[in-house]
């Protein structure tokens, strides 16, 4: 029997995800993409489980459906690129010019670029699904300020939609197969789709009821702070002034999130100065919202706060070092990341330092080998049956 390692701190995983996501986002160098893919696959196999269902993460099967979908889309992307991009010096076939959109020469350059782009998409999906499977969602939500908790809950519900739907589809398919149902065409999908839709609606209603019963999005009664429930405010306020006091942090939060999205877009389209200004304004808005909401949002407590273990520190440090190296290479030698097969197909440039540094992405694999019992930060938390001291921090 195999086991999966203990959980890592979500911040360490996020840093790892960021470091692994930079190469496919900024370039198409085949060496860099290859090294990243190998490292991500190793981490995924160790932490999520590579087909061995006994050792898999709880929702690994559902995420595997997303990976399959990504492979399909990557393959479609390759065909689309070959048929629609007619640039390049290595022509291997020709479609008559009269054929709408796809007419023209088919080039090896377009094939190479399509394959590399598909590889980049696949790496990004692998990184995302690995994080989705291993990151503790509850711990991740707790990292955010209290004001953003509602947004984060909504985000986590959306994030869980795909794996939950995939899992539900698998269950329905198995149930129908047990009844002797064999789908042969598109028309036969109806007995699969209808229960899926019904299940989804039922799940949504149950979730809404559960959230409401836990006071999701509720505000305190007039004259009371949720932080000090039961203690009347020294100066009773009118309902309207309370409503204003409660609403403007929410408006600031919405403004900050919108500003963040706009800033990211400006950065992506090559407008760094307005992007920095917008992102700065968004950060200020979110900061004010978080500060202002201290009085109106319930204070959260933790039964057992996560402590940074040796494994967490190892992954976080390796990912941070790799990020620094990536940004430095991006600044000094961007061709180390990039590769253009147009107009002529040539050998890609190799940056050996960057390639060697990408081995740091294997840090979670090494962290999985760190014995938690030898870590004082973990020994106090683990129960005695697992070799810990059973104490509570």
């Amino acid at each position: 029997m195999t086991d999966r390692p203990v959980r890592l701190e979500p911040r360490a995983w996020l840093l790892w995800g960021l470091a692994a996501g930079v190469p496919p986002l900024v370039g198409r160098n085949p060496f860099v993409l290859g090294a990243t893919l190998l490292a991500v696959l190793a981490v995924r196999t160790v932490w999520v489980g590579g087909g061995d269902t006994a050792a898999e993460a709880p929702n690994a099967g559902a995420w595997r459906a997303v990976v399959r979908l990504a492979v399909l889309f990557a393959a479609i992307g390759v065909v689309f690129n070959v048929l629609t991009v007619h640039a390049g010096d290595r022509v291997f076939a020709r479609i008559p010019d009269g054929v709408w959109i796809v007419g023209g020469p088919l080039t090896l350059n377009a094939l190479v670029y399509g394959v590399l782009s598909g590889l980049a998409i696949l790496i990004l999906v692998l990184v995302g699904t690995t994080l989705g499977a291993v990151v503790d969602g509850v711990a991740l939500l707790r990292l955010l300020p209290a004001r953003l908790a509602t947004v984060a809950v909504a985000g986590s519900v959306a994030w869980a939609f795909v794996p939950q739907t995939a899992a539900a589809f698998g269950e329905i398919r198995e149930a129908q197969a047990a009844r002797g149902f064999r789908p042969r065409g598109l028309r036969d999908l109806l007995p699969l789709v209808v229960p899926l839709l019904t299940n989804g609606l039922e799940r949504a209603l149950t979730l809404a009821e559960a959230l409401e019963s836990r006071g999701f999005g509720a505000v305190g009664p007039a004259g009371h702070d949720l932080q000090r429930v039961g203690t009347p405010s020294p100066k009773p306020e009118t309902q309207s002034s309370l409503a204003v006091r409660d609403q403007w942090p929410a408006m600031l939060t919405a403004l900050g999130l919108t500003g963040g999205a706009v800033g990211a877009y400006l950065l992506a389209v090559g407008q760094p100065r307005p992007a920095v200004l917008t992102l700065g304004a968004a950060a200020c808005a979110l900061g004010f919202a978080a500060r202002a909401s201290r009085a109106t949002v319930a204070r959260r407590t933790r039964y057992r706060p996560h402590r940074w273990t040796r494994a967490d520190r190892l992954v976080a440090a390796a990912s941070a070092i790799l990020l620094i190296i990536e940004l430095t290479v991006l600044r000094l030698d961007p061709s180390g990341f990039r590769y253009e097969p147009y107009p002529s197909l040539a050998a890609p440039r190799v940056n050996l330092l960057l390639l060697a540094a990408l081995a740091l992405l294997l840090a979670p694999v090494i962290a999985s080998r760190v014995d938690p019992k030898t870590d004082p930060a973990v020994a106090t938390v683990l129960p005695p049956t697992l070799g810990g001291r059973g104490g509570q921090s």
């Binding site: 086991d3 640039a87 107009p343």
Partner: protein, 290 residues
């Protein structure tokens, strides 16, 4: 030439035969009634719309597509002869950031071609990206510009107002360069026209030159010398201003570098595989604790 023509003719005939197989008449000859003549029986639980079996029909369509692709690759028999004697010429001047000027003379049989066609026929290394109905944008000419991925943002233009990018101009009169509002794809180039491309954010900075000047500066031979398929080959020559040296070909990286890169990939892959194997052979946490 003759062999290619024969192959082309054969492939076209094959395509025609495949097409005829898809006609109702052919199906009737084969004893298969078409849906129009005799509808499928009502009692059929699931009406079958395809008259031909699926794989066979698929193979037929595939063969038709391959035929079309092959047929287009080779010149067709009996194709209309191009007007070799009266071929048209267009001049091209490309001005780079360092001031060097590339002159090219292209010949074409059509009455008019697009600005992109002129660039493509000039054999100057070119990177273009499509912008749908807006036509194509030029990203890079002779290595100057930006890669296609960046080109989609602002056609390689930086954030500054005067940041350069590849702009196309048409010479109304010698020295009178005018920007074309519709872009190179919509631009129609006719015999004797001179098209200018300049890596600039403001003024074109292109010299005054007639088509004969361009032909002379590009080193085009007189007459139809160098013609292989009826049209003279394009002539291209670059003129460097004083103080500007021809760019040296950047030497590729050594084989040792690529060997080392391969070694790094093997090490990463090997380390990952070893760790995966070790983690699979490790006893469970609960078991080891017990």
């Amino acid at each position: 030439m003759g062999r290619r023509d024969t192959e082309s003719e054969q492939s076209r005939l094959l395509g025609a035969a495949m097409l005829s197989r898809l006609q109702p008449g052919y199906l009737a000859q084969r004893g298969v009634s078409s849906p129009a003549r005799r509808p499928p029986p009502r009692s059929d639980h699931r009406p079958h719309n395809w008259t031909l079996p699926g794989p066979r029909r698929l193979l037929t369509i595939l063969a038709l597509l391959v035929t079309l692709i092959v047929a287009d690759g080779a010149p067709a028999t009996g194709q209309e002869a191009s007007p070799i004697a009266g071929h048209n010429r267009a001049g091209l001047i490309v001005r780079h950031d360092d001031g060097r000027l590339t002159y090219a003379l292209v010949s074409f049989a059509e009455e008019e071609i697009s600005g992109i066609d002129v660039l493509e026929q000039s054999t100057i290394p070119l990177v273009i990206v499509g912008f749908g109905a807006l036509g194509e944008g030029v990203c890079s000419l002779a290595g100057e510009g930006c890669p296609a991925a960046e080109c989609r943002r602002r056609v390689c233009q930086g954030t500054g107002r005067d940041a350069p990018y590849w702009q196309v101009f048409r010479q109304a009169a010698p020295g009178d360069w005018r920007a074309t509002g519709l872009g190179a794809s919509a631009m129609r180039v006719r015999d004797g026209d001179v098209v200018g491309w300049s890596w600039t954010g403001r003024d074109p900075g292109l010299p005054a030159a007639t088509i004969d000047d361009v032909a002379r500066l590009a080193g085009a031979p007189s007459g139809a010398a160098g013609a292989e398929d009826g049209l003279p080959s394009p002539a291209v020559r670059t003129v460097y201003p004083p103080g500007v040296e021809p760019p040296t070909e950047s030497e590729g990286q050594s084989a040792l570098t690529y060997l080392a890169a391969g070694g790094v990939l093997v090490v990463i892959g090997g380390a990952g595989a070893y760790a995966v194997r070790r983690s699979r052979g490790r006893p469970a946490l609960e078991e080891s604790a017990a």
